[in-house]
């Protein structure tokens, strides 16, 4: 607004009315400007990816070349070979796959079960319990970390995957993330008609029978969104694995990458780190391309329907 007014004032000062182009012209011009702006922004979003993937195929001397090559001059797979041969990276990727799979499968079951109860069953204290669960989404992971570390070490669970599966607060990873329950409740609430459930109840089906035979088969898209949400969260999680995992063969890939990074400069294998980063992002990119719609639904679930 201010800009517009300034322009008018300036135009008035020069003694001319602001040039009045035809509406169509102005629209076309602003449309072009808009697309240029979008394209430049998109470029900014893509550059780090481009740099990651091209560096993964450069030799270490090429990565350190001044000025850098925008396109790798002699692309090579040597980094990947060396990374997988000389470090425990393949093991850490495997660990990440195991942890992410267990987290996701657990989240699918526990969240849909609880989401069904919150959406379709009546019981005392339901609304209060639901609100309490929403409130847990505001507890940052760092806050519960120290007591959990003390407890887990007394229970002998440090250096196992258990601490990555059990802590259900806001941005931690667990088999029952509160956000997932929220999302399933919203989804089941709108996707399933009460009459269907009533009919099954009259036929004498148990609630678990209704859940497994009627609810689960009809909420496929919701489950897909939830799976992607849980998978992304777990796959990219760093703080919990860093605190709770110890032995080199138990680490997940982000901790392994940071271990490589912690070697000081002349020894730091930047080429291997970039190859490892590219390897870790590639499966997510592939999933994104295949399941784009669910991806965006899964990660933004519940944000809008309050």
């Amino acid at each position: 607004m201010g800009l517009v007014r300034n322009a008018r004032v300036r135009a008035a000062a020069v003694g001319k009315a602001p040039a009045r182009r035809s509406a169509v012209d102005t629209q076309r011009l602003s449309s072009i400007a808009l697309h240029v702006f979008l394209a430049l922004s998109a470029l900014a979003f893509v550059i780090p990816y481009y740099w990651l993937f091209t560096s993964a195929f450069k030799t270490l001397p090429d990565i350190q070349r001044i000025p850098p090559d925008l396109v790798p001059r002699s692309p090579t797979l040597a980094n990947f070979v060396e990374l997988l041969r000389t470090t425990q990276y393949s093991r850490s990727i495997l660990n990440s796959v195991v942890v992410a799979s267990v987290t996701t499968i657990g989240a699918l079951f526990f969240c849909s079960l609880a989401g069904y109860a919150f959406a379709k069953l009546r019981f005392r204290g339901r609304d209060l319990l639901f609100l309490a669960m929403l409130a847990t989404m505001m507890v940052p992971t760092v806050v519960v970390l120290i007591p959990n570390f003390v407890m887990m070490s007394r229970m002998g669970l440090v250096d196992t995957f258990w601490p990555l599966l059990l802590i259900p607060v806001s941005n931690s990873t667990s088999v029952a993330p509160p956000f997932g329950i929220f999302w399933m409740r919203q989804y089941i609430g709108s996707a399933i008609h009460d009459e269907l459930l009533e009919a099954a109840r009259i036929d004498g089906a148990s609630e678990f029978g209704i859940y497994s035979r009627i609810v689960v088969p009809t909420i496929g898209p919701g489950l897909a969104g939830l799976a992607i949400f849980a998978l992304t969260l777990s796959w990219n999680s760093f703080l919990q694995p860093l605190v709770f995992l110890r032995s080199p063969q138990n680490l997940t890939y982000p901790v392994q990458l940071v271990a490589l990074q912690s070697l000081t400069w002349p020894l730091r294998p930047t080429n291997l780190i970039m190859a490892g980063g590219a390897l870790s992002v590639a499966p997510m990119l592939l999933l994104f391309v295949l399941l784009q719609r669910h991806f965006i639904a899964g990660l933004t679930a519940g944000a809008v329907k309050e």
Binding site: L3, S55, M133, L145, G277, V281, L299, A303
Partner: protein, 291 residues
């Protein structure tokens, strides 16, 4: 029997979350506060020091540095990301923009990377000798500086990483929110000849307020407990002059390197306090006005 079963079933269905939360969320949350009142190093029973740890915090320059950095990071990221997100969302929601899906997906791509990988990539992009940004700076005649040794650079660098990693996420949420708004209100404003900017601030922003508040609260929680990026870039010592220390990394250092569990718990509770205050303010601000 059956009616008993019917009345218990819902509780069984929701039980897993609450059992886990009580054991690994609520007990630690309360325990964390309890621990913050003790000078405790893990092994022997600690001394009860009342608010001694909190008082010690106020005299710890590292704490003030971490607190200041966290607040600066909040100021640099949360308003920016909310505004940028809304601008992109409004553009992508307007008529006559081509390849909307493609742009939306492109903005969303960074959300797929782990924060660790994002931070590692930014270290080479900002490498003072041959990073792309060094070249861009050179083009503009700005002297290259080393993000590892510059005391000014940590907060802006982490701000950039956060903006890169999360803007697309905010765009997608806000785009979903925009699509639930009554399009006829926006169209009516156009017919009235409301200027683009005027329309944005007078109509779109107020209508979007609940969603803007939601994303702001989410971002606030994330920023006050930020850990991955500063840990990867500046470690637990925060680099030269502790310019890269944040509340999350300071807590980690005291807990898992110095084993001052009571002191570290006090830092954790400062994070809780900040999140609580900031969220309350934002939620109040976000209440629909009574006009």
């Amino acid at each position: 029997m059956t009616s008993f079963r019917r009345s218990v079933t819902p509780y069984l269905f929701i039980a897993p979350f609450y059992l886990l939360f009580i054991a690994f969320g609520l007990v630690p949350l309360v325990g964390s506060f309890g621990m913050s009142l003790f000078a405790w190093r893990g092994a022997n029973p600690g001394n009860f020091v009342k608010f001694g740890n909190y008082i010690a915090l106020t005299r710890d320059p590292a704490f003030w540095r971490a607190f200041l950095n966290t607040i600066l990071l909040w100021l640099g990221t949360v308003p920016t990301i909310t505004f940028l997100g809304l601008v992109f969302a409004v553009i992508l929601n307007s008529h006559g923009v081509r390849a909307k899906g493609l742009f939306r997906s492109t903005f969303f791509l960074p959300v797929l990377t782990s924060l660790v990988v994002a931070s590692l990539v930014f270290t080479i992009i900002f490498d003072p000798r041959n990073g792309i940004m060094a070249i861009v700076f050179h083009l503009f005649g700005i002297p290259a500086f080393d993000f590892r040794t510059s005391q000014f650079f940590p907060v802006p660098l982490i701000t950039m990483i956060v903006l890169w990693r999360w803007t697309g996420y905010v765009v997608v949420i806000q785009l979903a929110g925009l699509q639930t708004l009554p399009q006829n209100v926006l169209d009516a404003a156009t017919i009235d000849g409301a200027e683009r900017a005027q329309r944005f601030f007078r109509i779109t922003v107020p209508l979007m307020r609940p969603i803007l508040v939601f994303t702001t609260v989410l971002a606030t929680i994330g920023i006050f407990s930020i850990f991955d990026e500063p840990f990867v870039l500046y470690g637990t010592q925060g680099g030269p002059g502790e310019a890269g220390i944040f509340l999350g990394t300071l807590m980690y250092r005291n807990a898992f390197e110095y084993f001052q569990l009571g002191y570290a718990s006090a830092i954790a509770y400062v994070v809780v306090g900040c999140v609580f205050i900031a969220s309350t303010v934002q939620l109040r601000f976000g209440r629909p006005s009574t006009q």
